[in-house]
């Protein structure tokens, strides 16, 4: 019986199907909002679905300089890790697996899709992919630092109150803390961490100002140069899933509390919050800014957001 419950978790609710639809719709909304900001009609909301199914229908070409097996396996590895992350993220107190310390698990699981993109790109053997990989890696290094500090700050804050002063790495404890004391955002010591995380989302997801790795213009789609048909579809799906998962992680960290009892309502509320977060951070910045150079991005990420999150860490450290 337990297996069935878990199977349901994996495939339906917080797992594959839910994320599949939620992610793609979120990506559609994001593209529509960006279009509307530029005063043009913009594609229909279901556009990512059409893109995905069209790519399923197209022929898969494997270039002869590619290492065939890794070339196909890489996108699937990214997909698997994204699905497993979604199991860990609690939606208002309900989470498929409430392992004790899953913030670190999530940090590492979040790097796997990026690594799968890199391995896929490098296995395709094209020089464009080589350049794309080195940029993707630099972008991972640049956004990882502020992300870690912000998560530690949140962990420390939740840990202060909930599990007797020790730091907590478990999301369910963080949610519990927020249900007691209201969403994390309202504690003024957490505002810098909130802003830092807001900056991190575009780079983590790879949206415009920081999508140097998949810059269409200069190095034509970076690591995805040689992909076509089905693996490319999986990569586009990964992109959409990442938006959804990272924003819902953001919501659990900063905006959650004790939602209503029924899971469906909770999921709906969480999803609405995700949309707002995505619009605020990804679409707005995407519609307005141009693409940065690699080391400008690194310089940016290791100064402003890191300083913000360190500030909030210190504040939390002083027990405020």
């Amino acid at each position: 019986m337990l297996i069935l419950k878990y199977l349901f978790y994996i495939f339906v609710f917080p797992g594959f199907l839910f994320c599949f639809f939620a992610g793609l719709i979120l990506a559609g909304i994001d593209r529509k909002i960006v279009a509307r900001m530029q005063k043009r009609i913009g594609p229909p909301i279901l556009q990512p679905f059409y893109d995905f199914f069209k790519l399923m229908g197209k022929e898969t070409i494997i270039p002869n300089s590619a290492a065939k097996r890794t070339f196909i396996a890489a996108p699937v590895a990214g997909l698997i890790s994204l699905v497993t992350i979604s199991l860990f993220i609690p939606i208002f107190k309900f989470s498929a697996f409430n392992a004790v310390a899953d913030v670190i698990v999530i940090i590492y699981l979040l790097t796997i899709p990026a690594v799968s993109l890199i391995i896929g790109g490098s296995s395709s053997g094209s020089p464009y992919a080589g350049v794309g990989i080195s940029r993707e890696m630099v972008s991972i290094v640049s956004y990882e630092l502020p992300l870690i500090i912000a998560l530690l700050a949140v962990g420390k804050k939740a840990g202060m109150a909930v599990n007797d002063g020790m730091v907590t790495f478990s999301l369910s404890k963080i949610v519990e803390y927020q249900s007691l004391k209201g969403p994390m955002l309202f504690h003024w010591s957490m505002i810098p961490a909130f802003l830092a995380m807001l900056f991190v989302i575009p780079c983590e997801v790879g949206s415009l100002p920081f999508d140097i790795a998949e810059a269409e213009v200069e190095i034509c789609e970076g690591p995805l140069v040689e992909y076509s048909g089905f693996p490319l579809g999986i990569y586009k799906l990964n992109y959409a899933l990442k938006i959804f998962i990272f924003s819902s992680l953001f919501v659990t960290l900063f905006l959650s509390g004790n939602g209503t009892g029924i899971i469906l309502f909770d999921a709906a509320i969480q999803y609405v919050l995700c949309i707002i977060v995505v619009i605020l951070s990804v679409s707005l910045i995407r519609a307005v800014t141009a693409r940065l150079r690699v080391e400008q991005m690194l310089k940016f990420y290791w100064t402003y957001p890191t300083a913000l999150s360190i500030l909030s860490l210190i504040l939390v450290w002083l027990g405020l």
């Binding site: 005063k39 043009r40 307005v288």
Partner: protein, 137 residues
């Protein structure tokens, strides 16, 4: 670190998008637009002025002997034309006119040709005395 167009982007979010819904709403080309060529074969006298003046050489003339004169067909190959309207200006008889129809999408190249034929009656020839005329002058 100022984001340039944030204000403009946000309030354009609420305004109506300014795209023209083209395929569903037909749109007329502006007045003087140089579109597809309309060839009025009855006015044309086959002088070939437009051929000489057409830069890409999109106009070809072919004549065919028929019993009551030459049958001349002028063929304007749209695929080669730069729509510069030189031929329309230079045509002494104003036989060429560029309409403002702009979408000439085709699958095969052949139906890009605009052509018109007309019969040009030659002046009646005095069979024997043709050389004599020249001497009189």
């Amino acid at each position: 670190m100022n984001f340039p167009f944030v204000k403009e982007a946000v309030n354009s979010l609420f305004k109506k998008p300014s795209t023209e819904r083209y395929p569903f709403v037909k749109k007329e080309a502006p007045l003087g637009y140089r579109g597809r060529i309309l060839f009025k074969s009855d006015k044309c006298i086959g002088c070939g002025m437009c051929i000489r003046v057409c830069a890409p050489g999109a106009i070809t003339k072919s004549t065919k002997k028929t019993d009551d004169g030459e049958e001349i067909t002028m063929n304007f190959f749209m695929g080669r034309c730069t729509f510069c309207q030189m031929c329309a200006d230079f045509c002494p008889r104003g036989a060429i006119e560029l309409t403002n129809e702009f979408s000439m999408i085709t699958e095969d190249k052949s139906n890009l040709n605009v052509s018109g034929t007309f019969i040009k009656k030659l002046p009646p020839k005095q069979q024997a005395g043709s050389q004599t005329i020249s001497k009189q002058v």
